[in-house]
């Protein structure tokens, strides 16, 4: 199953953060888009990656 198909099962802001991150946007942009401080962006993206990996494992 593609990652794109799994995004819908992530919390909405995590999906937004991950899409922007993978599209090459910087942390400041992601912070504005998700409404969290820039200091929280790195954790948000990492958590999103981890949740996506778990979803991928579950579906495979």
């Amino acid at each position: 199953m593609s990652d794109e198909a799994l995004y819908d099962d992530l919390p909405a802001m995590m999906a937004v953060a991950l899409r922007l991150h993978r599209a090459g946007h910087d942390e400041a942009t992601i912070a504005i888009a998700t409404g969290i401080p820039v200091e929280g962006v790195d954790s948000l993206v990492r958590l999103a990656e981890a949740k996506l990996a778990r979803l991928r494992d579950t579906r495979d």
Binding site: D8, P11, L47
Partner: protein
């Protein structure tokens, strides 16, 4: 975990594994990096689960450490929140704060000198000095700080510095996704939850763990959430939950009146156009509400709308308004809407509702238009209310049609039929084709679909067609075509498929056929073609349906959905369940959020049909319970009795004789009135399966043979009934010729497969039976493949071909293992085939995966000779000669366990 009726059991910790792992890992990292600050600040809105995450981290890392909790009352006392951290020491005994801070740090350190962990809940509520202490302990790396803060609350500077200065990581805890909410709800309720119930709960709670807890507890207590046939269903409104209201009120405690008024206005108009919102409450109030986290902006640039951040915020603030205040707000909103002019149906409906709420005069025409819009949006309760008001205001026959449509959907077809009969003369006097179309549709749904009075429906269609001559030629042709298209639906229901195809051709071959009549003609013709096995021709009809839908006209866009469902029907007639399943799964997913109960019921019935074909009774049962629930208001065209017939099959396939009989009895109560030919095959199958599960094994094939006789002229029903009779044990020989003739009239291969199967049975041709079993398995007809493999095994055994008997028996068992615990008569008598020992199974699995004997020997610490010996026995027991044949014949321990448990 099952929630106690008082909601008091411990709540499961779900969907936070990754966040917990980050916190625990950070504590370990800080422990290793002795002199570096470390920790985590967990931020998030109220109720999202911050405290629970902190508690779980504490339980796993430092359960005995004291906890610091920020509160509004302790915030008034300097060091009020942290005074308990160093019991033997107090600030008064120290000359300066720094030396007392050191004592606190030492008190928190582990007995073995490990760095302490300081857990602070609601750190945004710490008093200034307590916050300074926490910051000092973090800066000096005396402790690892794990703290929670709430979004939208002002934090003391020392707390903000924790993450701003890089002393700790910051995690912004997110509300649960829909899938996470569903998993939590299912776990808490301890059983499957209906799709609508999940949808309702997910929408209401918006991923907030606290809200899920409170709403679930209250819904169970109020009876809004109950189990029906083992599935949790939602039946009612979201109950008012005092604790939830308290929690939301607490959340809004610091919010000023302007922001509250802005929230109330946004809730009244949700979603409210941004410019309109600014006009009616002012940008300052909106900005205040946005700053307080009460409203959010969505939509594209230049067409933004605002809505409450959480659905319950709006509900709570509106419930808190007095009668006159709410009436005044509704009036302000109505005036603003009227001034800008409603831009679409949604805002037109909103304007009417707010005018009514504000006590303003609303014209009959406006009420009627609003009723039609509400019906089109599947809000039939609102449609009925508005139509009643329109009738009262003198809207006349037009309002009767809108009211009848709502009554149909609300399960009161008798009233609908009565209303329409009373208004028919007036309706047919008007020159509005749109009204006539709506009248025909509502009348047909009441008389034919809901009440089973097909002759009355046909008479009504005839009167409409005749009335067309009073108007211009185009109007007359349109009405005649429409009547013909609806008449075709009755003919489909009665199984007169060839007549439907002829009628459809007449309508479709003309270039001036109106779109709505064309839509119905395409639907009925496509369906009739599929039931006659003419699937190639049917697919050309599907292309036309899609093309018509692509024109975008509101009345015909549904054609795209029908085309999808008809493709599934074709695939089912072709036996191609593997291909049909993903299409119908997508349709079910797309309908999850739909308010169109009739369409939702239909897609679940179709899904169940595919699941039964695949031999998956447990999944089929789940879909059928969803379908029956969707049809509770309006049994469209016998959909509910059809679902009950399939439910009886599913229960019988699961070996549940009592439940199967009950479903069949429920089906039979309404079957004569509402059942049509479409469902006749399933009625017969239900009778036959119930007979089998009751041990009346000779009755089952007779039932299917009788059904086949009754399907005279219906190609696929007849051939499938004959085939199933043979599967269930009927004498195959006499069936071959009739089935061969029928198969020749179709445009697909599946009937020919069925003929091959029946002929092989008649001729006791075991190799052909084995080949047919494999072809059925490839199509996705897994249970049928298992039954045919079992037949092959019996024939092989009777012929003394022991290897063949063993091989096909093993195949049959492997297929059955995929069938969710199905038990059917046709699987009996597989013979005394040796079961593989656990070690033999292990060796066979590896061999089937392509491992060499040496690989297997090394992996299992055996000699190559022992592996060879095991494989020799495996080959003998399974009747195979090569390791490549092992693939697909092994029932793994995990799969065995699963099927036994179901």
């Amino acid at each position: 975990m099952v929630l106690g009726s008082d909601g008091g059991d411990r709540w499961p910790f779900r969907a936070r594994d990754e966040e917990l792992a980050v916190v625990v890992a950070e504590i370990a990292r800080a422990e290793d990096a002795r002199n570096e600050p470390g920790g985590v600040v967990v931020a998030g809105p109220a109720g999202v689960g911050k405290t629970r995450l902190l508690t779980e981290a504490r339980l796993r890392t430092c359960p005995d450490n004291p906890l610091v909790i920020g509160t509004r009352s302790a915030a008034l006392i300097p060091y009020g929140a942290v005074s308990h951290l160093a019991p033997g020491s107090s600030l008064q005994h120290h000359s300066d704060a720094a030396s007392w801070y050191s004592d606190v740090g030492a008190a928190l350190a582990g007995a073995d000198g490990h760095r302490g962990v300081l857990m602070v809940d609601d750190a945004h509520l710490l008093d200034g000095p307590s916050a300074a202490l926490v910051l000092h302990l973090a800066v000096t790396a005396s402790v690892t700080v794990i703290a929670t803060i709430r979004h939208g609350e002002e934090c003391p500077d020392p707390v903000s510095a924790l993450w701003r200065d890089g002393l700790t990581r910051r995690i912004d805890l997110q509300p649960f996704s829909r899938a996470e909410t569903e998993a939590l709800i299912t776990e808490v309720l301890g059983g499957p939850v209906g799709g609508r119930a999940v949808q309702r709960l997910a929408e209401t709670c918006a991923g907030n763990a606290l809200f899920v807890h409170e709403v679930l507890t209250a819904a169970r207590a109020s009876g809004a959430l109950t189990t029906v046939d083992g599935v949790w269903r939602w039946n009612g409104e979201v109950p008012t939950v005092p604790r939830l209201v308290d929690a939301i009120e607490a959340r809004m405690s610091g919010v000023d009146d302007r922001a509250r008024r802005a929230l109330a206005m946004v809730a009244l108009g949700e979603p409210l156009d941004v410019e309109l919102a600014e006009a009616v409450v002012g940008s300052e109030a909106l900005a205040a509400a946005e700053r307080s986290g009460l409203i959010r902006i969505t939509g594209e640039a230049h067409s933004e709308t605002c809505a409450p951040t959480h659905p319950l915020y709006g509900e709570v603030v509106l419930n808190g308004l007095g009668f006159f205040e709410r009436r005044r707000l509704a009036g302000d909103l109505a005036d603003a809407l009227a001034a800008t002019g409603p831009s679409d149906d949604r805002t037109r409906l909103l304007l009417t509702r707010r005018r009514l709420e504000a006590g303003r005069d609303v014209s009959a025409a406006e009420l009627l238009a609003a009723a039609v819009i509400a019906n089109d949006a599947f809000d039939f309760d609102l449609g009925a209310t508005l139509a009643d008001q329109a009738l009262g205001a003198g809207a006349g026959a037009l309002a009767s049609v809108a009211r009848a449509r709502a009554a149909n959907a609300l399960g009161d077809a008798e009233s609908a039929a009565r209303l329409l009969a009373d208004a028919e003369d007036e309706i047919l006097e008007t020159g509005s084709l749109e009204l006539h179309e709506r009248y025909v549709d509502a009348g047909f749904n009441a008389l034919h679909m809901a009440l089973g009075r097909s002759d009355d429906a046909l008479a009504m269609l005839e009167r409409c067609a005749s009335a067309g001559t009073r108007f211009d030629a185009a109007h007359g042709v349109a009405l005649a075509d429409l009547a013909a298209a609806y008449r075709a639906r009755v003919l489909v229901h009665r199984g007169r498929f060839d007549e439907v195809i002829t009628l459809g051709e007449q309508v479709l071959n003309r270039s001036d056929t109106p779109d709505l009549a064309r839509l119905h003609a395409l639907q009925t013709t496509g369906e009739a073609l599929a039931y006659q096995g003419r699937t190639t021709t049917a697919r050309r009809i599907h292309d036309e349906l899609r093309a018509l839908a692509a024109t975008g006209r509101r009345e015909v866009v549904i054609g795209a959905v029908w085309a999808g469902m008809q493709e599934v029907l074709c695939l089912s007639q072709e036996g191609r369940m593997t291909d049909a399943a993903p299409i119908v799964e997508l349709a079910v997913e797309a309908m999850r959020t739909s308010a169109d109960e009739e369409a939702r019921g239909l897609v679940h019935v179709v899904l169940a049909a595919v699941r039964l074909g695949q031999g998956r009774p447990v999944s089929a049962r789940q879909a059928l319970l969803d379908a029956i629930h969707a049809y509770r208001g309006f049994d469209a065209g016998g959909g509910r009795v059809w679902a009950l017939a399939m439910l009886a099959q599913a229960e019988a396939m699961m070996g549940r004789a009592k439940e199967a009989r009950e479903a069949l009895e429920a089906c039979n109560r309404d079957r004569d009135a509402l059942g049509g030919v479409r469902s006749e095959l399933d009625f017969a199958l239900a009778e036959a399966y119930v007979a089998m599960v009751q041990g009346r094994t000779t009755a089952a094939p007779r039932i299917m043979l009788d059904a086949a006789e009754s399907f005279d002229g219906n190609v696929m029903f007849r051939i499938r009934a004959q085939h199933l009779a043979a599967v269930l044990g009927a004498d195959a020989g006499p069936l071959v010729e009739s089935m061969t003739q029928l198969a020749a009239a179709t445009e697909c291969d599946f009937p020919a497969h069925c003929v091959t199967h029946v002929r092989a049975l008649a001729e006791a041709d075991a190799p052909t039976l084995e080949a047919v079993a494999m072809s059925f398995a490839e199509l996705g007809l897994t249970l049928r493949a298992a039954e045919i493999a079992a037949q092959a095994s019996r024939v092989f055994r009777a012929a003394g071909v022991h290897a063949g008997a063993a091989r096909t028996a093993a195949r049959s068992r492997a297929f059955v293992a995929e069938c969710e615990g199905s038990v059917t008569f046709a699987l009996s008598g597989l013979g005394e085939v040796d079961v593989l020992s656990p070690r033999e199974h292990e060796v066979a699995e590896m061999a089937a995966r392509g491992c060499s004997n040496r690989d297997i020997a090394e992996a299992l610490s055996l000699s190559v000779r022992t592996v060879e010996s095991h494989l020799y026995k495996v080959f003998a027991k399974l009747g195979v000669e090569q390791r490549s044949e092992l693939c697909g014949m092994l029932v793994g321990p995990e799969r065995r366990g699963r099927s036994e448990n179901q």
